[in-house]
């Protein structure tokens, strides 16, 4: 068999389930700089061009954990994906039109790097992101739910998405017996992770 190298595409488009920070830029500079300050054991940085967003979206299973962008153009595929799936969106510089309400701007690169690292290291109710993928629960158990990973990383902010988008998070929280649930919170601007009131325990709708 002849050696086969390039025709399968760049490694950045390899499908896998590892937590992904997709970085969109025309020249790769933001991705290179972010890669130097992000714990790569916790997330893989995928350096892509805006025109490649649809391809990288298909590669990140089940969807990207975070999308970081810069510049004035937003790929239409990003607008569509952010309206359907819970992932964090951070934008370096002025945010262009079309991004979801839960997107957050960063005026300086140091702010952006701080936001990414804070999201990776955030802990809510004893839950935190496991290295690579999944969530470490308070009693040492590890669960898989991309929606729960997004809620923890965004806390105390939320996502401007329908509550049913977070069904998998509700299910794993119920099964693990953790008294937090996704709740719509107008003040926080969308669906956030909230402690349950005692009367709600056992609720897993």
């Amino acid at each position: 068999m002849s050696p086969v190298g390039a025709e399968g595409g760049l490694g950045v488009f390899v499908r896998d389930w590892t937590r992904s920070v997709v970085v969109l830029s025309e020249d790769g500079e933001i991705a290179v700089a972010l890669r130097d300050c992000v714990d790569t054991g916790r997330a893989v940085v995928r350096d892509v061009r805006p025109a490649e967003f649809a391809d990288v979206l298909a590669a990140c299973r089940p969807w990207p954990w975070m999308v970081v962008g810069g510049g004035g153009d937003v790929p239409p595929a990003l607008i569509a994906a952010a309206a359907a799936r819970p992932f964090l969106v951070f934008w370096y510089g002025t945010m262009p039109a079309g991004l979801p309400a839960h997107a957050r701007p960063a005026a300086r690169f140091s702010d952006l790097a701080g936001m990414v690292n804070s999201a990776l290291q955030r802990s809510v109710g004893g839950m935190s992101l496991s290295p690579g993928m999944g969530v470490d629960m308070p009693h040492g158990r590890r669960v898989r739910s991309a929606a729960l990973e997004a809620l923890i990383a965004a806390h105390p902010d939320g996502f401007d998405l329908p509550l049913q988008t977070f069904r998998s998070a509700t299910r794993v929280l119920h099964l693990a017996g953790v008294p937090f649930r996704p709740r719509r919170d107008r003040a926080a601007g969308g669906v956030v992770l909230r402690p349950m009131a005692p009367a709600q325990e056992g609720d897993h709708r």
Binding site: L10, G11, V12, A31, T40, V45, M133
Partner: protein
């Protein structure tokens, strides 16, 4: 059972390649050496179903090689796609140039970067730091052997090394031979009453789990 871990070495300068080969042989690795990308891709392809390198050291600039059908980016992309659990170090004289870094990271998002100007010794020390992991009461020595520290017993299979250096990540094994070796490693851990246990996640996926010292072993 012994199975020394393979290391893929891709370097177009024959003297440097020979030095690297010697350095890794002394550390009980089995080097798969290539002077061009075409040869490296053949080695990856030929080993895909039998053994897979635990580590790859790739020179970014392969311009001295005689065969230019493929380049180091093709090798990195192939490693990212087909040997995702192989630790990859890319070294270059121009590693500071952001264009080079972007090209490397697009070819292999998990590749570690190393400055060639720091010399071979620095590279080998970097490899040692990357591979000499400690998980619970286990330690990887010289990147090639897993040692149960309390008993000083050694386990010499590359798949055991792969699991320890990737802890706490999940590792997918791609052959019956590899999964049998992993299960034998799990039995070895149990026999040694290690605080580390093998967790099977189905579909040939495994990871190591470290039990708290104050928790009893599971029945």
């Amino acid at each position: 059972m012994r199975a020394n871990p393979e290391v893929l070495l891709v370097e177009d300068d024959p003297d440097t390649l020979q030095q690297l080969r010697g350095q890794f042989e002394r550390r009980r690795f089995h080097p798969l050496a290539a002077r061009n990308a075409t040869r490296a891709l053949s080695l990856i392809e030929n080993n895909r179903h039998s053994s897979r390198p635990v580590l790859a050291v790739v020179d970014w600039d392969l311009s001295k090689g005689e065969d230019h059908r493929w380049n180091s980016g093709d090798v990195l992309a192939r490693l990212a796609r087909d040997v995702a659990d192989c630790l990859v170090i890319v070294y270059s004289q121009n590693i500071d140039a952001f264009r080079v870094r972007s090209e490397i990271q697009r070819a292999h998002p998990r590749a570690w970067l190393h400055d060639k100007r720091d010399g071979d010794t620095s590279l080998v020390e970097r490899v040692a730091r990357l591979l000499d992991q400690r998980v619970g009461d286990l330690r990887v020595q010289d990147g090639a052997v897993v040692i149960h520290v309390p008993s000083h017993d050694e386990h010499h299979h590359r798949e055991a090394v792969r699991l320890v250096v990737h802890h706490p990540e999940i590792v997918t094994f791609h052959s019956d031979t590899a999964t049998k070796a992993v299960r034998r490693f799990g039995e070895w851990l149990t026999r040694h009453e290690s605080c580390v246990r093998l967790v099977s996640l189905g579909n040939r996926k495994y990871r190591l789990d470290v039990r708290d010292e104050d928790q009893p072993a599971e029945a």
